[in-house]
């Protein structure tokens, strides 16, 4: 096959940005209730609106924010609150590693900005899109990533403020607690194209359920690592056979 006969079907860099915004839009259903809830819980814990919103701006990580705030309200020492919440956030280092092959060539300040905006939802969107579009240039990937950020990070701050101001969260009858599982399943399912991907996923689920008793969300890390090792091993075995 000649490299000349098939020029890559690259969409424009701007369209990657819009695609990122569209792909991330369903996550508003996750971000809005979760951020509002943080605002509510923070004001109930005695934080003012400025404190609650700076919490969200500095950290942008729901589970870690809830963990640390809960521990502080319970009177735990600062060190315990910090260490527990950082343990909850250890998965972010895995996201960072996972996106490095795609975005490592960007200038340092852009990588720093990407790192700041790296949350579950931006990571999930980016990695799915990068895998699906191997012909994208660095510019496309950056543009897509920042498109994804638009409906996620600003709404995280904004809805924290709204929650803190109105003091009430979205009623539980709307079942938006389940928006996160549905959106993540819908993103991962189309990626299960090879036996290696499927094995990684199944192993991660089994380990996540068996090690859910570990404190500080550490079961998640064990499950993630076990799934990655499984995927890599199955890929090697299938490659040898081929």
């Amino acid at each position: 096959m000649s490299v000349y006969e098939n020029p890559p079907a690259t969409a424009s860099v701007q369209s990657a940005f819009w695609q990122g915004m569209r792909d991330a839009a369903p996550f508003l259903l996750v971000i809005i209730p979760f951020a509002m809830l943080f605002g509510v819980v923070a004001t109930e814990a005695g934080l003012n609106i400025l404190e609650a919103s700076l919490y969200s701006v500095a950290v942008i990580a729901g589970a870690a924010q809830f963990t640390s705030l809960q521990l502080l309200s319970d009177g735990a020492p600062v060190f315990i609150a910090l260490a527990s919440a950082l343990a909850v956030n250890l998965r972010m280092a895995m996201y960072s590693a996972s996106l490095t092959p795609y975005l490592g060539a960007a200038p340092l300040w852009k990588r720093a900005l990407i790192a700041y905006c790296m949350v579950d939802q931006t990571y999930a969107c980016a990695v799915v899109a990068y895998e699906k579009n191997p012909d994208w240039t660095l510019q496309h990937r950056l543009s897509y990533f920042f498109g994804v950020v638009v409906p996620i990070c600003p709404f995280w701050y904004l809805m924290t403020i709204v929650g803190a101001m109105i003091g009430s969260a979205i009623p539980p009858e709307l079942a938006l607690d389940f928006a996160m599982p549905i959106t993540f399943i819908a993103m991962v399912a189309p990626m299960l194209k090879t036996l290696a991907h499927l094995s990684a996923c199944i192993m991660a689920i089994i380990i996540a359920l068996s090690f859910a008793w570990l404190p500080y969300n550490l079961g998640l890390l064990v499950a993630g690592l076990a799934g990655m090792m499984t995927g890599a091993q199955v890929e090697l075995m299938m490659g040898r056979r081929a």
């Binding site: 998965r91 990684a200 079961g219």
Partner: protein, 113 residues
């Protein structure tokens, strides 16, 4: 006036700043420090499976033991998760799978409460 159990302001700011810096460090450690340097093939092979391992591992306990139903398996949520999964695998379309899962969830909640 100091209410019982009020959070000490110094502690609060230490946690906000410390957690902000610490979380940034975790997010920056690989993409920032490795950048464009080549990584060994075995590392890349493992990283290819990060998403299909960690995202299901986040979701699995939320499906098996939803906090909204007191940590008990909930038929509505479980079936909605399965519909989303099957739709996603067969249709390979994330948005359709989300809509299918959401429709199933509300239908099931309406049917079984």
């Amino acid at each position: 006036m100091e209410t019982a159990g009020a959070i000490n302001r110094g502690d609060l700011w230490l946690v906000i700043i410390g957690l902000g810096l610490g979380s940034f460090a975790l997010r920056f450690v690989f993409i920032g420090l490795i950048g464009n340097r080549p990584m060994p093939e075995w590392v890349l092979r493992h990283l290819r499976y990060t998403a299909v391992a960690i995202l299901p591992a986040i979701v699995a306990p939320l499906v098996a033991w939803p906090a909204a139903t007191g940590g008990h398996l909930d038929p509505a949520r479980f079936i909605a998760a399965m519909v989303t999964l099957i739709a996603g695998i067969y249709l390979r379309n994330t948005l359709v799978a989300i809509l299918g899962g959401a429709a199933t969830l509300y239908l099931m909640l309406w049917l079984v409460g």
